[in-house]
């Protein structure tokens, strides 16, 4: 019998697009603040990996549920890639719930009902000058459910499903269509009141201490928050809307701050109303996520509007006269999946030599087929030498590459991301991060890169 949330974690990419940069380029009035944007080598799957890695999942026996309105692939499961990259046991199922905004809350409900884990990630963009563009946010969050060591127990769940043409887009289109923004609130508010009254009757709670609202319609979200008498989180004031990931990020922000005994209302207001009432337990203060949402949103690296348009595929720029990257082939990707998806190497059981990736013949002692797996996905390392390649094809040139010596042994030549060349040098400490290296020949190529350790970035 699943009792509630056992663990949570959020991820926000490091890049920031200033809203004034959009405005000045387009010649429009300036809006305040900046929004997080995924890097050129990030997509909803890699954002999900960042939100999920390191999350304690032993207490959640159910499936992994992945929600996004911007899945990297259709037809093929994206959650199986995420599952593999965080090293989940193959006996744990992984299912995509992709396409609609409501799938974010849907993943939460499914994880709650099954004692599993919900991971939500989204890349949000719109046509230049749209509010989807300026008020979107790229982010991800993971929430695990179970029955032991619960940090927030579920008190009640209510839901109303509504067929309403309010926001929609075709799969091939990058642009969301929307009806008048005053329309949905008219329709949904009465349904929300119905849900609140049912929930109130079931739980005895009419006024929660915290609320995490997922709603594409800012006007409706503000109205509901106002009627609940709960102010919007200061952290999320400038954040924008993170699509299917928003409910997870908002909930993570609440769990960063909630005190034992406080009540939390999770609300989804897309395509109906979904409500989950929780109460934080005594464990909530001991199991805060390593980085709070506020911490993730603080700082960041400014990126220009032209680069963001390029990264999102909306601006095609002159590439260098270099061949397109070669797409990965499936059979070698399958054979080398431990290295490709987990940055796994090995230790020779004969002499102790650490190798990345594994080789059948040990470099140091020559022993054949005598090794045990070592995973490097969470291992920090140090830059031994490096360079900036200005000639190779990249969406964010120059490509920074470095020879990384990992703590405890093992070396490999890897790309450095989330850094510009002035920030990295011999001796810089780095950590692995899972990224989409390139997309070519109709195939996404995923692998590990490194980024400077946060302490080295002076954050």
């Amino acid at each position: 019998m699943v009792r509630g949330i056992t663990a949570y974690q959020a991820y926000v990419p490091v890049h920031r697009l200033g809203r004034e940069d959009i405005a000045s380029f387009l010649g429009r009035p300036v809006q305040a603040g900046s929004r997080p944007v995924a890097g050129h080598d990030e997509d909803s799957s890699t954002l999900a990996v960042e939100a999920l890695r390191g999350l304690p999942v032993a207490g959640s026996s159910g499936p992994l549920w992945f929600a996004s309105t911007s899945p990297a692939y259709l037809e093929k499961s994206n959650s199986s890639l995420i599952h593999a990259a965080v090293g989940m046991d193959p006996s744990r199922p992984a299912y995509d719930m992709v396409g609609s905004l409501r799938s974010g809350v849907g993943a939460l409900r499914a994880a709650l009902d099954s004692g599993g884990i919900a991971v939500m990630a989204d890349i949000r963009m719109g046509l230049p000058e749209s509010s989807d563009e300026s008020m979107g946010a790229d982010a991800a969050a993971s929430i695990a459910f179970g029955s032991d060591d619960v940090i927030a127990e579920v008190l009640g769940v209510e839901s109303i499903t509504l067929e309403l043409l309010d926001r929609w887009r075709f799969p091939e289109s990058a642009t969301v269509e929307a009806w008048d923004e005053r329309y949905a609130p008219e329709v949904i508010l009465p349904l929300w009141q119905e849900v609140m009254s049912r929930l109130g009757a079931a739980t005895g709670i009419a006024q929660p201490d915290h609320v995490a609202i997922s709603c594409a319609n800012a006007r409706l979200a503000a109205t509901v928050a106002g009627r609940l008498g709960v102010g919007m989180s200061p952290t999320l004031r400038q954040f924008g809307f993170a699509g299917a990931a928003h409910v997870g990020v908002a909930l993570a922000d609440v769990l960063d701050r909630a005190q034992p005994g406080e009540t939390i209302l999770v609300l989804g207001l897309n395509d109906g109303v979904d409500a989950v009432m929780l109460r934080a337990t005594d464990l909530v203060t001991q199991r805060r996520a390593p980085r709070s949402v506020a911490d993730l949103l603080a700082g960041g690296k400014r990126v220009g509007y032209g680069d963001v348009l390029t990264w999102r595929g909306m601006l095609t720029r002159q590439p260098p006269r270099r061949p397109d990257p070669q797409a990965p082939a499936s059979p070698p990707s399958y054979r080398e999946r431990a290295y490709k998806l987990r940055l796994a190497g090995a230790r020779c059981t004969s002499c102790g030599w650490v190798m990345l990736p594994v080789q059948r013949v040990c470099l140091q002692c020559g022993a054949k087929d005598q090794h045990e797996t070592v995973e490097f996905a969470s291992t920090p390392g140090t830059i031994a030498t490096l360079t900036a390649d200005r000639l190779t094809y990249s969406l964010a040139p120059p490509m920074l590459m470095a020879v990384i010596d990992f703590d405890g042994g093992g070396r490999q030549l890897l790309e450095v991301t989330d850094a510009d060349e002035r920030e990295v040098h011999i001796g810089t400490r780095v950590e692995p991060t899972f990224r989409r290296v390139a997309t070519s020949e109709g195939i996404h190529n995923y692998f590990w890169k490194v980024r400077p350790l946060r302490s080295d970035r002076g954050e």
Binding site: A384, T385, D389, L391, R411
Partner: protein, 394 residues
């Protein structure tokens, strides 16, 4: 033991080399016909008298047909070889062993590359299907990683390192300016070199070898037959080749200030040739200056400078044409250009000219022993070839 040397058992008796250029009007076939014909004509030998051919090309053709078809040889063995940028030397090495074995009496080793039919800037290799985990980095980027490592280890600041690299590029362009066959035949000012826009790390365009088309060929016989073809042949003293195991990219003990493969192949070559003090016994060296930091490191790996001292020797002009040990007197890869399959043979062509007194205004006085060094791959994962040739047996 590494290998049984064949010192003084094989002689080079003829050579040919096309200009290295962007040959928009010449094909692989054209360049092979030109180079091999020049080679055979210089010894007055008909192609039908040649018993076997070796053809080095990295990516400009497959199989021996690439040479037998344009040359219209009749039922001769033609072996196509490839070993990254050491391909030209590989052609030479295998042909030399074949004639030393007695299996053939007259062999020709040729090398060719047609890089300028490609639309791409710089080298672009076609790799087999893979898991996509290998970095898609360019050659300049791979070799540029030597620079910060060398500077860090020996305490050079950015400006001093830049000065050293500039001297190497400047020297090779000075030499190329005296060479009608070279791709770039104008001297280049040091300021122009130092201030060039960066391509990879600290390297600018003048730190990188030229991308060119070209072909070269040589003919060999056993030493006792040499006099029938040539009054002043070159004797092969040493052939050494090492294929690295890629350890540098995965072994934290490698510090990117050296090529262990070069050190090993050089030691083997000196052992075969009986050279004890390369710095004083080698008259000239053609080395693989794909990029300026490569040449810097090679001076130490080949034993021409002590560890950590090459930068000083470079600045003092030790390796200039007028210096104690001229390196790349023909302009090197830097200004002669680097058609991959031909480069190793082009290096021997300069030895051919210099050791026989035919190098004109590049002539090094009293040249006796020449060394060629040919490298392929990238720091940490490479192959290295070293040969030593001389104008006298013994």
């Amino acid at each position: 033991m590494a290998s049984n040397g064949i010192k003084d058992r094989v002689a080079i008796v003829a050579m040919g080399c096309t200009p290295f250029r962007e040959h928009w009007n010449l094909s692989v076939d054209d360049m092979l016909v030109d180079a091999v014909t020049e080679c055979l004509d210089s010894a007055g030998v008909d192609k039908n008298a040649v018993d076997a051919y070796w053809l080095g090309t990295q990516g400009s053709g497959m199989a021996g047909v690439t040479l037998s078809r344009p040359l219209q040889t009749h039922f001769k063995p033609v072996t196509r070889v490839e070993n990254y940028c050491a391909t030209g030397s590989e052609s030479f090495r295998n042909a030399a062993y074949a004639v030393a074995s007695g299996a053939y009496d007259i062999v020709v080793a040729a090398g060719v590359e047609k890089l300028k039919d490609s639309r791409y800037s710089g080298l672009a290799a076609a790799w087999p299907p893979s898991a996509g985990t290998r970095l898609d980095s360019t050659a300049p980027a791979n070799f540029s990683m030597l620079a910060p490592a060398y500077a860090q280890r020996y305490g050079l600041d950015d400006d001093l390192l830049r000065e050293v690299l500039t001297h190497i590029a400047w020297k090779n362009h000075q030499n190329g300016a005296r060479n009608p066959l070279a791709q770039f035949r104008k001297a280049v000012e040091r300021d122009t070199i130092s201030c060039a826009a960066p391509i990879a790390g600290p390297l600018g365009v003048f730190d990188c070898s030229g991308v060119a088309d070209g072909a070269a060929a040589l003919m060999m016989v056993r030493a006792e037959d040499a006099h029938r073809f040539c009054a002043n042949p070159l004797y092969v003293k040493a052939l050494a080749f090492v294929s690295g195991n890629g350890s540098g990219l995965v072994d934290p003990n490698y510090d990117f200030t050296t090529f262990p493969e070069v050190v090993a192949s050089a030691e083997e070559a000196y052992r075969q040739a009986g050279v004890v003090d390369p710095g004083s016994e080698i008259s000239m060296a053609e080395v693989h200056d794909c990029f300026t930091p490569t040449e810097l490191v090679l001076m130490e790996d080949l034993g021409f400078s002590s560890r950590g001292q090459a930068w000083q020797d470079v600045l003092e002009g030790r390796f200039d044409l007028s210096g104690a040990l001229p390196v790349n007197p023909d302009g090197g890869l830097k200004s002669f250009g680097h058609p991959i399959g031909a480069s190793g043979l082009r290096m021997l062509f300069e030895c051919w000219l210099q050791l026989r007194g035919e190098a004109g205004d590049r002539q090094i006085p009293n040249a006796r022993l020449g060394l060629t060094h040919n490298l392929g791959g990238q720091p940490g994962e490479c192959v290295s070839f070293v040969s030593i040739v001389g104008n006298e047996p013994g």
